[in-house]
Symmetry: C2
Subunit: 549 residues, 2 copies
């Protein structure tokens, strides 16, 4: 049809209308350009496929378009890309009750009661953030108190630090908790005074007694959670995400949104293990679906755990736990086997490796395998927090992408110093060193582990100071990146890391019109100002998906 109409159109003498549909004028636009440098512009033309037709500098002749919007001098930056997040985790977290602003037990009970009433369809009421110290309670709350707010469904609420949980009677019943339940190793079931009867609070390892009874979210709940995740991310100016550990349940929620026309977030998915990868995509990565909004790129693997719990695998023992080196979660043979299977199908592996031994194992495995699988593979190492300086050059040699989370550095620095001691920090969060050795970066947040706020990430990346400006001058400041590199890490480089360059991540002709209007210039603001950036509007594919007003 289209072809014929076009032919007919070309055959007739009417003036050819411009392809452009919308002109957004009078903006302070900036983007990373083809050369990785910053390019500034003053107007943007969007065609009716939602792609950028043209960017204009001051003085350029403006094309005729159907619509014209005045940017009112606001700053326009590319839609931000989070190169490592857990989309469904963000959504499910956002749907749970947040008690962190409650100042008394009564206030909390009122809030819990209201939340349960607003969420009648939820089989369990879940939440977090309570703190009996802040409430001035002088003791833990009880199941009976929680029953007074919600007695028709199980309720389970985590303490602010995540080290304890508070259940109502139905929740304990569902978990089979009775006076006969013993304290597990490393945990404590709180008891009522002078009794073996459980009081309703479960500390540390005893939390598992409760959490294993909580049913997995149903597909309809995942749909709600995903819609919420999109809202949360767009509010932060995020238009695309690398979703780490996509399960078939997650994927189905994304597809349902795509089929229904409600998918507004671009998702580069990395399946949770080879089984999810194959079940989702079969023999090859999926095509880009829904106008570049969804693709199964590859597979997420775990080489080790995390520093905080001393699960990260180190070459030498933890400074604060001699004799413990953490441990690998796969053997080298298992890793190589999965990497080969993935590479045979052109799937992109994204391997979680935090400790220096884990990073060494992953980098060596890729080095070995890369010879048999030439071409543009873009092997990804996720986190790459502690890398032996001797191993860092391998990143550059094989075009490996270090997918890193700037805020982890500012959150973890004291803990990292404790875990590693002062002499093993040279390859820690070594962003600039990696770039200088020819490696590539992609920046993300690891949300919901950290806030998805990319402006906090941009500030941390370029200063290595936290929200309080600590430490002054930055932690190991030689490894900060400049403001342009930080922006690239959250835009063009994050797109490249997901094979999305040319589709989105920059405001250049031919790319999707994904952009954010903000209240200040992220390249010129002070670090404190940068962190306080206000997102005014978020657009995806030429369509507004968030408006602060």
């Amino acid at each position: 049809m289209k072809r014929k109409l076009l032919a007919a159109l070309l055959a007739c003498t009417v003036t050819t209308p411009a392809l452009a549909d919308v002109l957004i004028d009078n903006v302070e636009g900036l983007t990373i350009d083809d050369n990785g440098k910053v390019k500034r512009f003053s107007a943007l033309v969007i065609d009716d496929d939602g792609k950028i037709a043209q960017i204009l500098e001051r003085g350029d002749k403006k094309p005729q378009t159907d619509f014209r919007e005045d940017g009112q001098g606001r700053v326009m930056i590319p839609g931000l890309i989070d190169a490592h997040a857990h989309v469904m985790g963000i959504g499910i977290g956002a749907l749970t009750l947040d008690l962190s602003d409650t100042n008394t037990l009564d206030e909390a009970l009122t809030k819990i009661r209201a939340f349960a009433a607003e969420n009648e369809a939820r089989p369990w009421i879940l939440g977090r953030g309570w703190n009996q110290e802040k409430w001035g309670l002088g003791r833990f709350p009880t199941a009976a108190e929680l029953d007074s707010a919600v007695a028709d469904r199980p309720v389970y609420l985590q303490r602010v630090d995540g080290h304890a949980g508070w259940a109502n009677s139905l929740a304990m019943q569902a978990a089979g908790i009775t006076a006969a339940t013993k304290n597990p190793s490393g945990g404590r079931v709180e008891r009522l005074p002078g009794s073996q009867a459980p009081s309703g609070v479960f500390v540390d390892a005893a939390e598992e007694l409760m959490t294993r009874a909580i049913p997995a979210p149903r597909p309809v709940e995942r749909d709600l959670a995903f819609a919420e995740a999109q809202r949360v991310l767009h509010r932060f100016g995020i238009t695309a995400v690398a979703d780490m550990g996509t399960t078939i349940e997650d994927w189905q929620a994304y597809r349902r949104a795509g089929d229904a026309g409600t998918l507004t977030l671009r998702i580069m998915a990395y399946a949770g293990g080879p089984e999810n990868m194959e079940l989702i995509a079969g023999a090859r990565p999926s095509p880009w679906l829904y106008e570049d909004k969804l693709r199964l790129n590859g597979v997420k693997l775990y080489m080790d755990g995390a520093l905080g719990s001393r699960g990260a695998w180190l070459k030498r023992p933890y400074a604060d736990d001699p004799g413990n080196t953490g441990l690998p979660l796969m053997t080298g043979a298992q890793l190589r086997n999965i990497l080969v299977r993935a590479a045979q199908g052109n799937f992109q592996p994204a391997i979680h490796a935090i400790g220096d031994a884990a990073d060494a194992e992953v980098l060596n495995a890729i080095t070995e395998i890369a010879e048999s699988f030439p071409g543009d593979r873009r092997w990804r190492v996720e986190h790459a927090q502690i890398v032996d300086p001797a191993d860092l050059p391998l990143l550059g040699q094989h075009g490996i992408i270090a997918s890193m989370q700037p805020v982890h550095q500012t959150s973890d620095r004291l803990m990292a110093e404790a875990r590693l001691g002062p002499d093993r920090l040279e390859g820690a969060y070594a962003w600039n060193t990696i770039l200088s050795l020819g490696g590539r970066l992609a920046f993300g947040s690891d949300a919901p582990v950290e806030s998805p706020d990319p402006f906090a990430g941009l500030a941390a990346a370029s200063t290595r100071m936290d929200a309080n400006g600590q430490p002054f001058g930055g932690w190991r400041p030689q490894d900060r990146v400049n403001r342009e590199q930080a922006l690239a890490g959250f835009t063009s480089d994050a797109a490249f890391a997901g094979f999305a360059e040319g589709r989105f991540g920059r405001l250049l002709p031919g790319e999707r019109a994904d952009f954010v209007l903000v209240d200040r210039d992220p390249l010129l603001a002070t670090p404190a100002e940068l962190r306080a950036t206000k997102v005014l509007e978020t657009w995806v594919g030429g369509r507004k998906v968030y408006d602060a007003d």
Copy 2:
């Protein structure tokens, strides 16, 4: 873009080209029309969305089109719809080795060796159809003989009757079969002469020892199987199917084909149980995807088993097994619970019910629930083979669709007589009675349980005689339907049963151009001729998907 070009086009003075793209002329066309009657036509115009723009009778003025094809006087009928089949089962079956045409052990071994060489990627070689009697072997074949053909992979081949299987050494090793393996109840592990060592053949219940070791097909194998299923079905003139018991693995294969542009079969999917239904579709049936090629309509449930194995649930004991009434596979409460959940989401239930007790339970449950869920629900009963005549009117009262398989009647009649005795056959395969009581039929094959050949189905439906013309005049011929009703059962009524009316199933303007060119007129051919109908070409959405040449 389209809209603007169209506006530009309308504004200029060039002659408006016809919307029609292809004229297929000079055919003996027939279809069920809006009134359920046969309409005949001589030409068809397809627009470039693959829909029917116009049907023309002799003498009608032919529109100007881009392309014109001469139908050479061939008979054109609507694409045939199988209202009950198992698509992935057809494909997986078609990919296994068929030994039914082998006349000696050596011939079989040669065929097995060649098949293994042609299918290097398959981790197991599976097949069926051998018969040591036909081979004149006088004994079962052995694992050692099978090893001589394939020694690098496990092989497992079922005997022609499905009551025994033949394994090679690697298959027995994978299943953990040794000389110490005991015969299970109801089965026998064949042993080498004078030894406890297993010979390689497993009889009846002992087959399970082997089959449980066969890995589930991987997604890549499912993709191959699905491609093969499409080929098999198009060869029979089938363009759409109600897929019964769709799993998430099946659904993913269909989506991968849709995403890749290789989906040519229209699939109305009924998920295998509520969990698959929710995981696939969430809160509501999926939209029609890929230009009306895929939709998750509802959920397939099992009320009972089958007559052959005496698993069908009867009101009174089996005539050939007094004291046995078969048994329900769900309680009435479970059935009602699932039906209510499905109806709340507008999902369409399709409930397997073969025995008269099972059909009564299902019809009564629907009767109860239908009051709470008014509107156009199209409750489906699958098979409805033996219905108590007292219950038959319920079908018509609630717009229930009886989804039946004509060839089951001709295959099962002697067995049904044995199981039920002569006095309980009045509601057996009661097609015409159901229609006369205001019920609706949809016809299918239950492939791969039976051949998917719809011409065998059309012949059985309209004659109640088998391929040998037995019994002469038809079995309980009062329940045959006329030729038009049979065609409707495999076209328009099968579409209606899947909420697809107006989309496909008839050759009328606005519907998808799904049709078959055949070598004879299915309404005029004798029963024997009808069974021998040759499919010349099959078209889906205006595109040729099978050509006999």
